[in-house]
């Protein structure tokens, strides 16, 4: 196996290992989001868009600086997007040997400038205060792909496979397979993300690694820094000019004269070294006059201005979009009432400046409540996470979303702080509530509320006590909305009213200032576990009785008949 395949395999395994560890319970102190922060575009784009530098964004810059020494090693060996596309292309058998003429640097040059334009658009957008990192960052794209497509599909397949295999294994020593249960995940937008990857793979029919060669803005960033790296491809005098290296180069970095290399395109995959029959190619340092000046990037000034202009115009469009606050008229942004951000999410504008839509928080969320959105927050909010309480509640004993967020769009909060990071308030849709509307006996919302924020009080004209939400006790966790037995839309829903979004400072103090009291319900004798309310499938109550209860008013369950 070639060296590159080994490094690619190792880094992909590392990437996937960290990806799988991004879950609750969270392995403390482990930077599971490291790969995302290795992408210099993630770091640079975030720093520029948010006008704020944080130390955890350093890894990408270090890696970028290393390109001055070693070239685009990242692209050829580390980037999981590149490896994933390699695997997909191989599986789809897109790679065919390119004849020399179409794969030399000169012949394949048509599209490669695009990636610089992509980079410019994104950086200009960031300069305009709008993060478009999610559109082009390979690490954001590939993490989103694994989180929203590969992971849920793999879990579903695993479950199907278990159903098939476990009966067969029942009389072997693997009989315990019958008891292996796999949590399933569901996501919005998954099909779209999958389609994007299908398209990227299909483009490999045009050129191998089409994405990496022509579109990847991170590749462009590395290219700018590796125009003349210290360690680079060199060809000695034994070269016969046979052209094998040109045909084999996945990024068409070699000129028609095979001794000449475009180092900004070279991803140091070392294929040219291994295919050379004369062993004329090697990588090493070149001293003095032997170092030729780097090839020029084929970009007209007009195109550069166009790209920069598009980025700025996009930023301008977004900043004048309907979801932006209008100074003096209405300083709060117009927001959908159900755009419930994860607990600890920065104030909306700052949040969107940082969120790179990688999907790591959605992957890690144990209850599956975090979902990507389409256009609920406008075009600028596409793929960003919101809570969907009907699908799952925010687990009381979990703060994993903030721990895995690579850019600090969701703050990394201790549990006690997270429990005070109110995401909204529940309200009762009385016209569908079983108690309010049909006078049935149902207590589910009260029974599942971890904070005792639902109170049942008698009102005139109702046989049964009816539910009220105490807003100052409600954190918006969504247990009530999740478990409400009404079919379809819940009769108790969480809206963003009362959410606390802080750039810095303590949520505990802020909630005290607002007069909120978030206290987890009393535990019983023998002690309820801290995670009692955290099971995705838990239902402390099992729904209302269908019939009205004759024992109503006595406080006894409907199953008991009084004499």
């Amino acid at each position: 196996m070639r060296f590159q395949r080994i490094t690619q395999t190792v880094t992909l395994i590392l990437f996937l290992g960290l990806f799988l560890l991004a879950a609750s319970p969270f392995p403390d102190g482990l930077g599971v989001d490291l790969f995302l922060r290795l992408d210099p575009l993630v770091d640079l784009g975030t720093v520029v868009a948010a006008r704020d530098f944080q130390v955890f964004l350093l890894p990408g810059f270090i890696l970028l600086a290393s390109a001055f020494l070693f070239g685009r090693v990242f692209c050829g060996h580390i980037c999981p997007m590149g490896t994933t596309l390699d695997v997909l292309e191989r599986t789809a058998k897109t790679s065919r040997k390119s004849p020399t003429k179409t794969n030399s640097r000169e012949a394949a040059g048509d599209y490669r400038a695009w990636k610089y334009l992509c980079l410019l658009v994104i950086l200009a957008g960031a300069a305009g205060g709008v993060s478009l990192v999610f559109v082009g960052s390979p690490l954001s794209l590939v993490t989103r792909f694994y989180a929203l497509v590969v992971h849920p599909v793999a879990l579903a397949l695993l479950d199907a496979a278990l159903a098939l295999v476990s009966p067969l294994a029942s009389h072997t020593r693997f009989a315990e397979l019958a008891h292996v249960q796999v949590d399933q995940r569901v996501f919005a937008t998954g099909a779209f993300v999958a389609a994007f990857f299908v398209a990227m793979t299909a483009l490999a029919y045009v050129q191998p690694r089409f994405w990496c060669r022509n579109l990847c803005p991170t590749g462009a960033l590395f290219g700018l820094c590796s125009r003349s790296p210290r360690v680079r491809r060199k060809v000695n005098d034994s070269c016969t000019g046979c052209g094998r290296c040109i045909r084999g180069c996945p990024t068409a970095a070699i000129s028609e004269d095979p001794t000449q290399t475009d180092h900004a395109e070279c991803i140091v995959c070392l294929r040219c070294v291994s295919v050379c029959p004369e062993a004329a190619v090697s990588f090493g340092t070149i001293r003095g006059a032997a170092a030729k000046p780097a090839a020029k990037i084929d970009l007209s000034r007009r195109r550069l201005f166009l790209a920069m202009g598009s980025g700025l115009a996009t930023a301008g469009l977004i900043r004048t979009g309907i979801h932006q606050p209008v100074p003096k008229i209405r300083d709060r942004p117009l927001r959908d009432g159900e755009l419930i951000r994860p607990p600890g999410a920065l104030p909306e504008a700052a949040f969107l400046e940082r969120c790179i839509r990688c999907g790591e928080c959605m992957k890690a969320c144990p209850t599956n409540t975090l979902q990507p959105i389409w256009l609920k927050a406008g075009l600028e909010g596409i793929f960003s996470p919101i809570m969907l309480p009907r699908l799952g509640p925010c687990a009381v004993g979990c703060n994993v979303c903030g721990q895995v967020c690579p850019t600090g769009a969701i703050r990394n909060l201790p549990l006690i702080e997270k429990r005070h990071a109110k995401v909204g308030t529940a309200w009762i849709a009385r016209e569908t509530c079983l108690v309010w509307e049909q006078d049935k006996k149902c207590l589910v919302c009260d029974e599942v509320c971890p904070y005792g924020a639902v109170a049942f009080r008698p009102v005139e004209g109702k046989m049964n006590a009816v539910p009220f939400v105490t807003g100052t006790k409600c954190t918006g966790c969504g247990w009530c909305e999740c478990k409400c037995p009404v079919e379809g839309t819940s009769a108790i829903r969480v809206g963003i009213a009362g959410e606390i979004r802080l750039n810095r400072g303590s949520y505990v103090e802020k909630s005290r200032e607002y007069g909120f009291v978030f206290k987890i319900k009393e535990t019983g004798p023998g002690g309820l576990a801290p995670g009692t309310f955290d099971a995705p499938d838990s239902a402390p109550a099992e729904g209302p009785g269908r019939q009205g209860s004759p024992a109503s008013g006595t406080g006894l369950p409907p199953g008991i008949i009084l004499k």
Binding site: A178, H179, G524, L528, A529, G531, R546, G559, I560, I561
Partner: protein, 312 residues
């Protein structure tokens, strides 16, 4: 697709058939000839302080585990372990009782013992806090599992059901030879009490619909005609007198264990011996027990039954 059976296949089917006849024959014969059956009580209540000893004494009094479990049988034990709370909270069965029932089944020759429930709270917390896996790990061939995945259930018809036509039951329960219920005595916000009958809902995939779509009390009885345990051991070491099924609520120590082959009788006895929501109740005051007796699932007329009391 039809084909002539080859010799190997013929022999195989023949062997299976004769084995089935041989094993079924003696069992039915023994059952009929078992003179002891006449003298055995309908129900036994053991009083004491040691949960394991009480469980054993109560089961011995109704004929011993060998009456219910034969050598090589696959046994399923259904305790309560649906809630993430410790034994003192009384939402789950006392682990020592479950362990002792498993041990008796093993001694009677069970080949495999599965302790199963479809839990409500976070599965890992339920299992670890209930301490049932911890205790049962001391009994060989015994495993404890939370069963929730859809593939582990099988649609099963409910003949003559008043509310249910069919339900999805754990495949492992359907495959088992013997089902033993080991519920804790506890109150329940919908059904009044949750004992062996109500506890069978822990072997069903979709129990929510019992509450929301059906008349719960009739549905429980329908279900128990299909899921009828051979033996019921009710843990009355302490009961959750109110606040059930999940608690927290009033926990009252009763220091007793009930055993009976009749699930309705066992439940009725538990109701009569306990205090529920600060009052005493007659068995027929609990709807699903009354319905069960009326529909002849079992007996609830305690006054006409032979009940053996054991003091330890």
């Amino acid at each position: 697709m039809s084909h002539k059976p080859d010799r190997r296949e013929f022999l195989k089917t023949g062997l299976i058939a004769s084995a089935a006849m041989l094993s079924a024959g003696p069992a039915t014969l023994l059952g009929a000839l078992d003179a002891r059956a006449e003298e055995l009580p309908d129900l036994a209540v053991a009083y004491g302080r040691d949960p394991a000893k009480m469980a054993r004494a109560a089961v011995e009094a109704v004929g011993g585990m060998k009456r219910f479990v034969k050598a090589g049988n696959k046994v399923v034990i259904k305790p309560n372990m649906s809630f993430a709370s410790g034994p003192k909270a009384a939402s789950n069965t006392e682990p020592a009782v479950v362990e002792e029932v498993a041990r008796m089944a093993l001694e009677a020759g069970a080949s495999r013992i599965s302790v199963l429930d479809n839990v409500l709270h976070a599965p890992n917390e339920c299992l670890s806090l209930s301490k049932i896996p911890e205790y049962c790990s001391r009994v060989p061939n015994t495993t404890v599992h939370n069963v929730q995945a859809k593939r582990m259930f099988k649609e099963t018809p409910v003949p003559n059901g008043k509310q249910l036509r069919s339900m999805e039951i754990m495949t492992e329960v359907l495959d088992a030879d013997v089902l033993i219920a080991v519920p804790v005595g506890k109150s329940h916000s919908s059904s009044g009490v949750s004992l062996s009958m109500k506890g069978m809902m822990g072997l069903i995939y979709d129990r929510r619909s019992f509450h929301s779509r059906y008349d719960l009390h009739d549905a429980i009885v329908d279900m128990c005609f299909v899921l009828k345990p051979a033996l019921v051991v009710v843990d009355g070491t302490r009961i959750l007198s109110s606040g059930g099924p999940g608690g927290p609520g009033k926990v009252i120590p009763l220091n007793l264990v009930i055993a009976s082959p009749d699930m309705v009788a066992a439940d009725a006895q538990m109701v009569a011996l306990g205090t529920w929501y600060d009052r005493k109740l007659e068995p027929h005051q609990v709807r699903h027990i009354r319905n069960a007796a009326e529909r002849k699932l079992g007996r609830s007329d305690l006054q006409n039954m032979s009940i053996k009391k054991i003091e330890l």
